[in-house]
Symmetry: C2
Amino acid sequence: MAANSQFAMAVHILTMLARSGEENIKSEYIAGSVNTNAVVIRRLLGQLSNANLVVSQTGAFGGTRLARQPVEISLCEIYKAVCCGEVFALHPKSPNQDCPVGKNIEAFLCNLQKEIDNSVGEKLRQYTLHDVIAKIELAYV
Amino acid sequence: MAANSQFAMAVHILTMLARSGEENIKSEYIAGSVNTNAVVIRRLLGQLSNANLVVSQTGAFGGTRLARQPVEISLCEIYKAVCCGEVFALHPKSPNQDCPVGKNIEAFLCNLQKEIDNSVGEKLRQYTLHDVIAKIELAYV
DNA sequence: GTATTTGTATCAAGAAAGGTTACAAAGTAG
DNA sequence: CTACTTTGTAACCTTTCTTGATACAAATAC
């Protein structure tokens, strides 16, 4: 399976929007920077819109802009908006319930999964889009 | 077959081995508990063997046993032994280097990726195979 | 009305994981 | 030495996910 880079692309997209303020940005333009197809961008924008992170407009002079200030959007929100996945997956088939290990390992792993996810969420909550811009601007001064 | 469940299966395998002490366990037997094919188990055991977590023997009465005591094997080591993947992937194609965002976002995301991975590693380092057994035994008393 | 842009639907290509069969190599027992 | 057992791999198939691409209806501006 191809690796999931939706979070990386979503951060890229939102960083572009953050730098453009109230101006509407076209998916075609963003696609040029992310180096992909405009439909890929629009699909991601759809998810970000569902999460109330962006606002879109159809029609001529339409496009997308942030729904909130960059300082009010954490990377954790972005992660949750586009990543349905967990850090690791559970067993593809349920383990053998007649084995004491098989019977109980799933519950353990499921709890562990949640614990790790919380840990990742906490880390991501430390950064906002504003921080991303700050770091990137520094990088090319 | 959705996401990567190698870590989940590896923990399951090692828990089985941990409960059997010095005894050699056959891949066929483990496969019965994990509910998969013996070759899938042997593939994982190969990775765990490369990481010096288990020792295998071919031939009659062969099989696999832990290379160390359960208390000396952390979940972090297991994770690193079987997961080549990161929590999130970077851009599939390199972003447009003519765009200030495209030019600098990769470095930022790469650092973030490492930071998150460290965070996950730290969390997993808190648990050993011994802890897993303790929790599982409790679960079915 | 015409041009533009989003929002979707649909399809194809490629990658990764898991499952399966097959078999050589290594080891044990007698 | 012979027969048997088990690991270690290779090869192949199927399923599933992600990305990329084309197409077109709906919405909006002038």
